[in-house]
């Protein structure tokens, strides 16, 4: 059951480990096993119910296929989830990402309407994300408010702010045209959709920051034990503030793509439930809301599990209204499998039946 199938992201498993007799046990202990297993299971079910699910064709000079579609649609959630992973590693949470998407989208539509240059608009969007992150970070690190409530404030009021911005120049859901954003949304560089390139660049940047500088260590130490981190000379406040800044920035990147997709600013529904998907992705990837750990690879796999699930429900011909239930059930199973107590209970139950 745990044999790796082609087409799944390779996890960093040393080849030597598999030669040893306890290879299976070591494999089962690896933290990425459960999320990868979940992804493989979803893909196997896909292969059974829709033959040709894994086909990738080249149509009009770009890659097409369900797997590409999963990556394509998974890119904005992956950006949000990476920012969320950074915040969660500090024992925090960012409930406001959906509202940040709404505000960023509204500001973008407004500036496009005012005729700003498109590169200025991109910069403005990123700055809006940073400003939202600054607000959250200020509440959490300076006022020392619990993250879940601190970010609840922006979550409650953000969509209202988006609506107000729309009303600045009339209209509830103003639409726009923008060649640059169009290119980011549906364009491609060579064979690869542009957004995947943007996504890959952002992933590498976050990875470099977290794994190739001391920043990742600081994040985990603040999340693990803020007091001892502070005593050993880590400026907890600065680290917390930067975690929320990163979350805001990554959310703004997602917001740019999502706004480009819809050509409109729709503060009420844009990015709805995106905070929940992002948190689920982090948790499926092995992150703990108790903080102290950050798994970028696990988080990306978590996003892919959720997106693959959504895409397969759509391609399987099940009515789309089954989407939420199937998603909830799969997520529940993954969560229950991750709990050591449940696994022990299942094992003892099976043993009793055998004996």
């Amino acid at each position: 059951m745990s044999t790796p199938t082609p087409g799944t992201p390779a996890s960093p498993k040393p080849a030597a480990e598999q030669a040893q007799p306890s290879a299976l046990k070591a494999l089962l202990r690896h933290r990425l096993v459960w999320p990868i297993l979940a992804l493989v299971l979803v893909l196997i079910v896909d292969a059974i119910i829709s033959p040709g699910f894994f086909q990738i064709r080249i149509v009009q000079g770009r890659l097409f296929g369900n797997l590409i579609d999963i990556l394509y649609r998974g890119m904005p959630p992956a950006m949000i989830a990476l920012g969320m992973a950074v915040v969660i590693s500090t024992k925090g949470i960012d409930l406001s990402v959906g509202s940040i998407i709404a505000v960023t989208g509204a500001v973008m539509a407004w500036r496009i309407h005012e005729g700003d240059s498109h590169y200025v608009i991109l910069l403005t969007a990123l700055c809006v994300g940073l400003a939202c992150g600054l607000w959250n970070g200020f509440l959490v690190s300076v006022l020392e408010i619990q993250p879940i409530i601190a970010t609840l404030i922006l979550m409650v009021s953000g969509r209202g702010i988006g609506l107000m911005i729309n009303l600045l120049y009339g209209g509830t859901n103003p639409s726009f045209t923008s060649p640059l954003l169009q290119g980011l949304s549906t364009g491609n560089l060579g064979l690869v959709p542009t957004r995947l390139v943007v996504g890959a660049v952002m992933i590498v940047l976050v990875w470099l920051l977290v794994r190739r500088t001391a920043f990742g260590l600081f994040l985990e130490s603040v999340g693990g034990n803020a007091k001892s981190a502070w005593l050993s000379g880590v400026s907890s406040r600065l680290i917390l503030l930067s975690a929320y800044l990163i979350s805001g920035l990554m959310t703004a990147v997602a917001a740019i793509i999502l706004t480009a997709d819809t050509h409109t600013s729709d503060p009420v529904t844009s990015g709805l439930y995106s905070e929940l998907d992002a948190i689920l992705a982090v948790v499926i990837g092995g992150g703990s809301l108790a903080g102290g750990r950050i798994y970028l690879d696990g988080t990306i796999i978590g996003v892919l599990v959720i997106q693959a699930l959504t895409t397969s429900i759509l391609t399987s011909g099940l009515p789309p209204e089954y989407n939420l239930v199937v998603k909830a059930v799969v997520v529940l199973i993954v969560l229950l499998l991750q709990s050591a107590n449940t696994r022990a209970a299942v094992v003892s139950l099976l043993a009793r039946r055998k004996g």
């Binding site: 509440l139 609840l152 009021s157 953000g158 929940l276 089954y322 939420l324 997520v331 969560l335 229950l336």
Partner: protein, 320 residues
Amino acid sequence: MSEKYLPLMATIAVFVILFIAGGLLYPNFFSTLVLGNILGDNAFIIIAAIGTTFVIISGGIDLSIGSMIGFVGVVMANLDSAGWHPLASAALMIVFGAGYGTLVGFIIDFCEIQPFIITLAGLFLLRGMCFMINLDAVPIKNPFVLEFSDMGIPLFGGGWLSSSAIVMLVALVVAVIIAHWTEFGSAVYAIGGDAQSAKLMGVPMRKTTLKIYALSGTYSALGGVVYALYTSSGYPLAGSGLELVAIASVVLGGTLLTGGVGFVAGTVFGGMILGLIATLINFNGSLNGAWIMISGGLLLFIFIVMHRFLVGSLKFRAGS
């Protein structure tokens, strides 16, 4: 007066000030009619928020309230089409809410999954089940629904305490008794204050956790029943986002999200403050609906910062 009553006093003060401000701004505002309407119109969300108060006092959180309200309405509407009396289907749904909550409590305690995540999965599951049952609004046609909305107690000054508001007040009295005069109530406060110490003192952790979420499930199902009777329909999107309104009501009501401190009665005032703001904005007429969200967020901010400094003065609670 003990410091722990300060947030509650502040909440009541804000409510009174807002109400008086409304009375000064609009001649017809200062009446039992408006007060009765605020109570009746927000009864379902306040009922659900009362259940959430227990969860939050215990240091947990429940995100599946809104979906539960939607799900209860959809099932009741479909059972109505099948010929059930609304009271029978209401009883069934309240039992369902209790069972669902018990299961959630069990998963939280036994599988050691954070309440945030498991109730989030519950949010998706219940909402998804609404969509699976039907996609459109289904009316509840039983004549009892009309009788229910016609029931009520007239107040002095032309006001009207509707049946929804009465259900809410009864639910409140029951919750206050549970919170302050039962062993379970003390256990909830103890776990929220310091789970480790509570365990060492012999508080039954599993039993209490199961009961807390069962109580929350029961109250949110009751909120769903009141909502279904109030709107006389079941709509699969009903109650979206209400979990946040409920949590906001609890926070505005003076309950600390760190757990251990809070009052059920405060939640009622918290919910009524939000209802009052919506009413004020409706009375104004020229203000946009976006203002409801923004002023809600602003008020939340003020209260949270106020709590923060109150908690700062109670320094022993600062460790998290």
